[in-house]
């Protein structure tokens, strides 16, 4: 009899989720594609003047990435719930917040990170001034994990519902609003030549807090909604 440690359980989970993403690597690109689509729609809807686009580019990139992340959230527990793995995970003797934390980390790696990688391209499409790009990337690096963590709590509440997409958007919005304000605020400040460090620091502080609390909240929410 060998029971395995918490660490080995997390490792097994991370390995499995990465493997699953790899097996469906076509699907994994979907959030990126969606963000690109949203960004493409804007020049079409607003007209193509570069100056006007440049002024709003950081905001549009954020909204696009936020919406893409929102839609990708659905996949966080959906598959596991449908095929019964989530039940098995809850039944496992290892601490649920730890396991969920690993799942959220993998989810961020497979959706948030690609979005950060594609962000420079999106920014370029909208003529974002080159000097703002580093701030945009820093803000995204802090904001996307926050979005994943906050989102996970809300998804855990809606797990098991059919057609939860729109409801999820509604639940998640109040949590996303401050993240968006600070992240886009940093970029807008940088674009106007103002100080942009303070909002980034706030984001960092929120991230540190969320890293600790969100998995706990997520586990509690999941226990409520799975029963």
């Amino acid at each position: 009899m060998r029971y395995g440690t918490n660490a080995s359980a997390c490792a097994a989970l991370v390995r499995r989720d990465l493997l699953l993403t790899w097996r469906r690597r076509g699907d994994a690109l979907n959030p990126v594609l969606f963000a690109v689509i949203v960004v493409v729609l804007f020049p079409l809807a607003l007209g193509p003047e570069p100056n006007q686009l440049a002024r709003i580019s950081a905001g549009i990139v954020f909204v696009a990435i936020l919406l893409a992340g929102l839609l990708a959230l659905d996949t966080l527990f959906r598959g596991d719930h449908e095929d019964g793995s989530l039940e098995q995970l809850v039944l496992s003797p290892h601490p649920l917040p730890l396991l969920l934390g690993s799942k959220i980390a993998v989810h961020w790696l497979t959706t948030g990170l690609p979005l950060i990688v594609v962000a420079p391209v999106l920014a370029e499409m909208l003529h974002l001034p080159r000097s703002v790009l580093p701030v945009l990337l820093a803000a995204l690096a802090l904001a996307t994990p926050l979005l994943s963590l906050f989102g996970a709590v809300c998804v855990a509440l809606t797990v098991g519902m059919r057609r939860s997409g729109m409801l999820l958007a509604l639940l998640v919005l109040p949590l996303y609003v401050p993240v968006l304000i600070f992240a886009a605020g940093a970029c807008n400040a940088a674009q106007s030549g103002l100080a942009y460090l303070a909002p980034l620091l706030w984001l960092g502080a929120a991230l540190a807090l969320a890293l600790v609390l969100a998995p706990l909240a997520c586990a509690a929410a999941l226990r409520i909604s799975i029963s």
Partner: protein, 252 residues
């Protein structure tokens, strides 16, 4: 905590609660309507026009009480949600869920009357300042709680999930309240203080406070009615609920 649970067991027994709600609600509604009418009279007729805003300021008599209620209702909902989650008390679940729609109504009134007031005062229906935005977020929180509650089949599980969300969302309440202090905005800072001198004329103050009283009482009346309906629905299998369904002393 022990006395608390005792209290809940006494008054929180569904048939007792139902009886109390049926008896109390009409009185509360009546009181609220009378207070409200008096406040309307005071606000629309007695109070003089403002030297700056002329008569437009009279929107204050509904805008501000409703704004207070939107925050108070959330606070009430979150407190009940906390009790529901920790001690699993059925009445608290129901009270929390019953206050969500009433709170949403008051929030909506605040938003709408505020933007109607904004047009003559600020020249725009809507700006994206901190207070207005956080109040809008408050509406979304209410709608999220209601939506989540309605989306889950099992009523008690639904109540617990929605209560959890309500608790997570409570951070927004202080943001709404203090937004005028933390960020400089178009919106008025606090003018009415219960402690210390208010920066508002006596003849305008009393209708405002009376209307605030009326909306509070209305809130509790409405919550009681909603709670008692949910209670009958939830306890449909029990004898007392069946008796009510068969029309033994059920007012409309």
């Amino acid at each position: 905590m022990n006395t608390l649970t005792l209290w809940f067991h006494k008054f929180g027994s569904p048939p007792v609660f139902h009886r109390i709600a049926v008896r109390l609600a009409p009185w509360l509604f009546g009181f609220a309507v009378i207070c409200g009418l008096a406040a309307l009279y005071g606000g629309l007729v007695v109070a003089p026009a403002d030297y700056q805003q002329s008569d437009a300021y009279r929107i204050i008599f509904i805008h501000v009480p409703c704004a207070w209620m939107s925050l108070f209702a959330y606070f009430f909902m979150a407190a009940n949600a906390f009790i529901a989650l920790v001690w699993r008390i059925k009445i608290s679940e129901i009270l929390a869920m019953a206050s969500a729609p009433v709170g949403a109504v008051f929030t909506a009134i605040t938003l709408i009357t505020g933007s109607i007031w904004g047009k003559p005062m600020w020249g725009t229906w809507w700006t994206w300042d901190a207070r207005l935005t956080s109040e809008l977020v408050l509406l979304f929180l209410y709608l999220g709680v209601i939506g989540l509650y309605n989306a889950i089949e099992d009523r008690r599980q639904a109540a617990r999930a929605a209560a959890f969300l309500a608790l997570v969302g409570i951070v927004n309440v202080p943001i709404v309240h203090f937004s005028v202090n933390w960020w400089n905005t178009l919106h008025q800072g606090s003018t009415v203080r219960l402690l210390g001198p208010s920066r508002i004329d006596e003849s305008m103050l009393w209708p405002l406070l009376l209307m605030a009283l009326a909306t509070h009482v209305w809130f509790f009346a409405s919550v009681l009615v909603r709670a008692r309906v949910s209670l009958v629905e939830l306890e449909g299998g029990k004898e007392w609920a069946r008796e009510i369904a068969l029309g033994k002393g059920e007012p409309a």
